[in-house]
Subunit: 256 residues, 2 copies
């Protein structure tokens, strides 16, 4: 449960304990350098020069979350920004009766926590183990203040997400189950390729229920569509993911 000395390693910074609330997380013993960061060139930090980066690295704290843990909840007051460094998050909203819509999956380099309402407007769970770089609002805002290039970078990320959100609306509102699944597989595959280079097999760290809630389908329909695609020779279902056997076929389905 409690991985090695979570609470003991918090140094003098007492506020940090409160940010994290009751979830089981590990804060990395400090000494982290942004220069070595895996997402150095992907994330918001890509807009910072070496001098700025050295200052920036004192603002954030690396925090680990175990599989299934909630990083933040919809109804929480926003106190931090998060930079996903490692792992995958599911971002979702719940209706009062429990229906869930996953609004996206976050991958390393994604920046979370922007909002107008002072509240997160969605929740974020770790799928598998996750590392985030957490920034308290106040110091982060102060840091941005006289660095418009960082603000511009943040805006760029927001606008890109907005565009993705609109694409997803088209998928949810106007596409068939087959098209939804094919589009998801291709999109996920492309994101992973951009991140870790192309590969024949595509890992799917999220479960079928997550995929269903992302596509506005039921778990049964997702499962049936997977097997259908496999029978058609378009994909092969392997353990923990799929392999794109006939990418052209999948693309044809997704495009239609």
């Amino acid at each position: 449960m409690h991985p090695v000395g979570a609470l003991g390693l918090m140094r003098g910074r007492s506020a940090l304990g409160r940010w994290i609330g009751a979830s089981v997380v590990t804060i990395e013993p400090n000494g982290h350098l942004c220069n070595d960061c895996a997402v150095r060139d992907l994330a918001v930090c890509s807009s910072l020069d070496p001098a700025e980066l050295r200052e920036f690295e004192h603002l954030g704290r690396r925090v680990h979350f175990a599989a299934g843990k909630t990083v933040f909840s919809e109804e929480d007051m926003t106190t931090s920004f998060y930079n996903l460094v490692d792992g995958v998050l599911r971002l979702y909203k719940l209706l009062p009766d429990g229906r869930r819509q996953i609004v996206g999956f976050a991958l390393p380099g994604d920046f979370l926590g922007m909002n107008t309402s002072r509240r997160h407007n969605f929740s974020a769970d770790a799928i598998g183990a996750v590392t985030v770089c957490q920034f308290a609002h106040a110091p982060f805002d102060r840091f941005i203040e006289d660095r418009p290039h960082l603000l511009r970078r943040i805006n760029e990320l927001a606008v890109r997400e907005l565009s993705q959100a609109r694409d997803h609306m088209v998928l949810l509102g106007r596409r068939s189950a087959d098209e939804k699944v094919a589009t998801f597989l291709l999109g996920w595959c492309r994101r992973l390729s951009a991140l870790k280079g192309p590969s024949g097999t595509v890992p799917l760290p999220m479960g079928r229920q997550d995929i269903a809630d992302y596509l506005g389908l039921t778990i049964e329909t997702v499962s049936r569509t997977f097997t259908k695609l496999e029978r058609q020779g378009a994909i092969e279902i392997i353990h923990g993911g799929i392999s794109l056997r006939d990418p052209a076929r999948v693309e044809a389905l997704a495009a239609a």
Copy 2:
């Protein structure tokens, strides 16, 4: 054109006609002052002080579009930003086979044209007569350059839209037809109230097909749901809009 309320009214002056692309638009004879602008306090301009505003007003020009005209198209290269001043736009994306998803309706004060790809990623049509304030990219970018507060304002609008986009994903992916329609009516009503004060009757300048394409339904289902709500006494269908007879009932449907 919309008997219930004048959402977009034709400017009296029929000024110099000019061809932009294939559509006929009117550019207002110049001399417009931002100070008198209807959306002065709503739009991006709200972040500018009087001196800046005087400079700003030379950057943009007012352009009128007749009902049904296209302001810009999905596949167009982006050359301008637009500030909607008067009227309503439908923002939509098309699939190759003609299926359409309306990703939003723009109202006065909305800012359009942000993107990462140098292309608009959706199209915008005028519903009824429309006035926009158009800004060429280059001078606008130069103007922003040393005005971070304007950039911050733009970011704020983008983040708000992102939040709305996520709400709409929930609607598209997880709500029933009844809930969709009720949620739409309430949301539209609230936006109009914020803009021109509360009112018993809610004008619906967009057609049933637009509503259907916004909600991921067919026109028949929208029509049937309207009549069902009317029979239940929740709303009254009046010419060019509806009247919220039993707001609590509609809210209950939308919340569920």
